[in-house]
Symmetry: C2
Subunit: 663 residues, 2 copies
């Protein structure tokens, strides 16, 4: 059998596993796997470095299917190359409850999937993060331990999403030469030919952003291979347009949007079998093809073993540090650094914006934790995310620990997901909180995947002042708290900020958002011990003078305001306590009894937050009073705005007294 015939049969195995699985599920996307089967076959049989027996081998090449709807392409290849989780039975259970083959690839479900894709454009931007992580780790640990490439297969839709440009710009700027993007250029979108909605010359676009580009017949394996091999010689990332036919092989549907997202139907499946000369029945793989795919899957064993030998031969300290980094274990000295940060804050005293508090914490943490890779979306001086010791990553030097992401919140956040997924680094960002909207799809994916990324979101309310309502978060606390598995932390002073950093870094199961003020806040906590009070989610920060008649609940910048209100109430003989609530999620994870203890039994509860009420009722109940926002903000100095919107100690005291009169 000629090499070409063998290739074709391997590719057809992908096509028919995909066709048959979609048919069985009566749901799914056959068009991409059929069209891109040749590309996948070349990559997985002739290019990629991977070992199905060790899906998480640190130095494997990464493959990201940005066009996640073509998930059966990936499941087929994982099955054929020998990833043991993806059995033929799982493929038969495609898109069924509890299967390892969900509708879109989910890395937290299936071994061998590098990242969760489906929301278009995310894959390509996530892959940029993986390629950044590779360069950063290679700069630290050397090419003996870290030397792999990242491949992306993307669709027209990925390239229409704006995030693709952010990703392209970052990758081109940083000269991520080990990143190769293959574009499934089938010229079909859901609405029909892509010419109904785009005229962009993608090759020119990527070239404009500093990429090497090539154009090949996406059904010509040798041409694909040649382009992919050429990419290895470039000092730029490479973009390869692979001209393909969507639904390749289907006599009636190939080249049409009809094959994108629906089963072919029994008759067309049979016709496609005939057209491609595929004799095997549904879910059957002829032995010659199975053997060729097994061989492809076995190819990487030797590479992996050689790498393991190099790792074993590495200096003990380097090896230990590499293994610590990849495992995500915290370094010795971490907790001491947190306590040091608290102690320093307590010693210094004074009013500090929590964004500055955060900087002070980072100045102490970053030298202790080389895995921290900070950054900012072009707001470094405002977000205060660059520690004194942090050096910027540049195109020619990845040994730094700070990324200048540019004004690209979305690309940044998706890349952070890729960095976290890669392992070895803990990425944190800087951005204005209001622009969390710009990167929400990537934050959501982080929460879904459970990646440890830390979003530092500063300028967290009307407290930012004159920049006005376009820049003032009002609904964002609620909107972020709404995302399942996202840990939202809004510290009240420097001590709580240090505790928030500790919590976020220790929170390996998902993303965290640190919500920080622009304006100065007084120091409320003066304890600098190992105890992390914020970890309870809520705790009493100021007791009542007697049996509490009023409990005040607040977060962040409003805790000090509640403490002032407490004074006013106590002065009027109303015993009042204050509860700081740095994190709803952590508090709600406590038992009902623990929560009840913190909530207390004062007849009057008032919550205070310079944001909308939504979400608070779960903490304080709908009978509590609330002092906060009900509209967008305005442009004025912060103090004027707090007064204008009635978020003052006086108003809080008033609300409490009103409630007390009613009670």
């Amino acid at each position: 059998m000629s090499n070409r015939t063998r290739h074709d049969r391997m590719a057809n195995a992908i096509r028919f596993l995909s066709i048959d699985a979609v048919e069985a599920a009566n749901s799914g996307h056959p068009g991409l796997p059929m069209g891109a089967a040749d590309i996948a076959t070349v990559l997985f049989s002739r290019v990629l470095k991977f070992d199905p027996t060790q899906p998480n081998w640190a130095d494997r090449d990464r493959f990201v299917l940005s066009a996640g709807h073509g998930s059966m392409l990936l499941y087929s290849v994982l099955h054929l190359t020998g990833y043991k989780q993806v059995t033929i039975n799982e493929i038969k259970r495609f898109r069924q409850l509890g299967s390892l083959t969900p509708g879109h690839p989910e890395n937290f479900v299936t071994e061998g999937i590098e990242t969760t894709t489906g929301p278009l454009g995310q894959g390509i931007a996530t892959a940029v993060g993986m390629a950044i992580a590779e360069k950063a780790l290679a700069a630290r640990f050397g090419a003996d331990l870290v030397n792999h490439r990242t491949y992306v297969l993307c669709s027209d839709g990925d390239l229409m999403e704006g995030i693709s440009q952010e990703a392209a710009d970052i990758a081109g700027h940083l000269k991520l030469s080990k990143l190769t993007v293959l574009w499934d250029d089938n010229r079909i979108s859901i609405d029909g030919p892509t010419s109904v909605s785009t005229s962009t010359n993608q090759l020119l676009r990527f070239a404009a952003s500093g990429w090497a580009t090539a154009e090949v017949d996406g059904h010509d394996p040798d041409a694909i291979l040649a382009a992919v091999e050429a990419a290895k010689g470039s000092d730029k990332p490479t973009f390869i347009a692979c001209r393909t036919t969507i639904g390749y092989g289907s006599p009636k549907r190939a080249g049409s949007e009809k094959v994108h997202g629906s089963p072919l139907g029994k008759e067309e499946v049979a016709a496609t079998r005939a057209a491609l000369g595929w004799e095997a029945g549904p879910f059957e793989i002829p032995e010659d093809v199975a053997a060729d795919w097994r061989a492809a899957g076995a190819k990487g064993h030797a590479d992996r073993e050689a790498w393991e030998k190099r790792l074993a031969a590495a200096p003990a300290e380097l090896r230990a540090e590499f293994e610590r980094r990849i495992s995500g274990t915290l370094p010795q000295g971490f907790l001491a650094a947190v306590v040091e940060a608290k102690a320093k804050a307590v010693a210094a005293g004074g009013a500090v914006a929590t964004r500055k508090s955060s900087e002070a914490v980072l100045d102490i943490l970053v030298p202790v934790m080389p895995e921290l890779l900070g950054g900012s979306a072009d707001l470094t001086g405002s977000n205060n995310t660059k520690a004194k010791s942090a050096k910027s990553v540049t195109p020619d030097d990845f040994s730094g620990s700070f990324m200048h992401w540019g004004v690209r919140e979305h690309g940044m956040s998706a890349a952070m997901n890729g960095i976290a997924l890669h392992k070895g680094l803990v990425p944190f960002s800087g951005g204005f909180m209001v622009f969390s909207d710009y990167c929400r799809p990537a934050i959501r994916l982080a929460a879904l995947m459970g990646t440890r990324v830390i979003h530092v979101l500063t300028h967290d309310s009307i407290g930012l002042g004159e920049d006005g309502p376009t820049h003032q978060p009002v609904e964002h606390l609620a909107a972020l708290r709404a995302i399942p598995n996202l840990l939202v932390l809004r510290p009240a002073d420097t001590v709580e900020t240090a505790e928030a950093w500790q919590i976020a870094i220790e929170h390996t199961g998902g993303p965290s958002a640190l919500i920080l003020s622009r304006q100065n806040l007084p120091l409320l906590r003066t304890d600098a011990t190992q105890e992390n009070k914020s970890a309870a989610g809520a705790y009493e920060i100021a007791p009542a003078s007697g049996a509490a008649k009023v409990s005040l609940f607040a977060t962040g910048s409003e805790v000090s305001l509640a403490v002032e209100a407490r004074k006013l109430l106590e002065a009027q003989g109303v015993p009042t306590r204050v509860v700081s609530v740095p994190s709803f999620e952590l508090f709600l994870a406590k038992s009902a009894a623990e929560r009840a203890k913190v909530i207390g039994d004062a007849p009057v509860k008032v919550a205070v937050e310079a944001a909308i009420r939504m979400g608070w009722d779960e903490i304080v109940g709908s009978d509590a009073a609330f002092v906060g926002m009900t509209s967008f903000g305005a442009s004025a100095p912060a103090k004027d705005l707090y007064a204008h919107f009635g978020i003052t100690a006086e108003k809080v005291a008033e609300a409490a007294l009103d409630k007390l009169r009613q009670a």
Copy 2:
């Protein structure tokens, strides 16, 4: 005085008004107004068609300052050309509470501001919408009535945001030849030289997307003018890179990021005055300069008068329709069409997905309302937003009423804002609800500005089934309801869908989101009258058999589920009523008494929604039971998912009985 000197003095007037206002506010961004003053002077004195005495003249050229932080540039020009709202006193009150000169330009505050900018990239994409609206209206009403251009001044940051690529791609594809983007190419970002984070060749990038491009010295008025005039001859949109110096004129800060976002300080202000030979004191405009600017502002009077004559001379019917369209008044026959849609649904009966219900409504509404400009982000067949009578807009024919936006939710949503701001059209979109995250910044701006745009968001829950958690909204209802001034409507059947469309179209004060199901839903309402029950936000859709012991509350696809649960409870002798809650916002706008009546006094309340609870407590109180989601969804057929996540009639009945036992 030479023309060049006169130009320079006019530009310096912008510079010093900006410098002085920022100085007075001790807050703001002098760098852009100083750097781009020459560009603005050329545009407003030699290019733009506008009349300060009629800021809303329909056929004016539009100018969008995408880099909204440079707001003082715009306020200066508006003041100098004679927009009467922007007095020198308002400029002195820059960034103060209640002034007409907020930190970023807000069209809903200040006459002459075309759109609210500040969140980067929004302006350029909004302008694309304005240019689309111009073409669409010109196709309908002819060049005598509609023939104007759209200009954008944008910054590096605008171009780094991904939305800029979506906008560029749409504009290039549609050959929006009357759109000119001037890039303030100052090569400085907040983090320093733009070279720290980008290497993209913007001219090549825009060329790749089908734009004409040019590069000029941004301080050479004749060069700027020549490029802008050349753009008028192109059949493509034009992108002009204007090489400028940020903070032009400041001896110590020009060309540095230090001048971007902070006052110059007394000393440097004096030095800049000396350097530019500006003899006038703070907020003073020399009379020769004032006169030149007044003349620039007066230039458009004649154009406007000529246009008014053409309008007066137009056929009466055309003129009336034009005026109706610009005023946003609804056509005769609108209400009848809504009732017809309801009647048709009632007559047809059967189970229908609300996305299909919506299509049926549009089939009736679109022919009656030529101002409707529908569209979809490449999901036309899934969102069902293309009415039978709707023809697609193409690059060569703008007479259609449907936009193929491509996979560009963000660019689409911002362009919709521009279409609505332009006046004459009512844009509605189509997208998957989960991807409302992709366009959230533009939806938020719509809510802030109060633009009438309608977002049709389909596939609204785990009910979409097999595509899995990346595609299943869980937190999105809460997140959308959190946005102030956004009207969220989740209809339960075709009759409610027709009512939702009526509400959204009549809601001129802000954006609406129609939340629609993928899966079929039974017809619950059989009344097809002029009464719009959904307009109350919530209403009893099924009464209890006696004094209600249980009130069930639900929206959208869960209303029929609540109706089933009611049957189960009634069968067990528990009088149960069902309240449909198509809109929280409309319901919460009712008086407490009206709300109490709908909520009722049944001892047990249960809310049901295939989403998180957040937001519901404001409707039903925190003592109510809730049946819904607490995590991300999963990939499986919809019915399996509803069962898996416990959102069934049985579970609702169980929850009610549990509560009843406790009560």
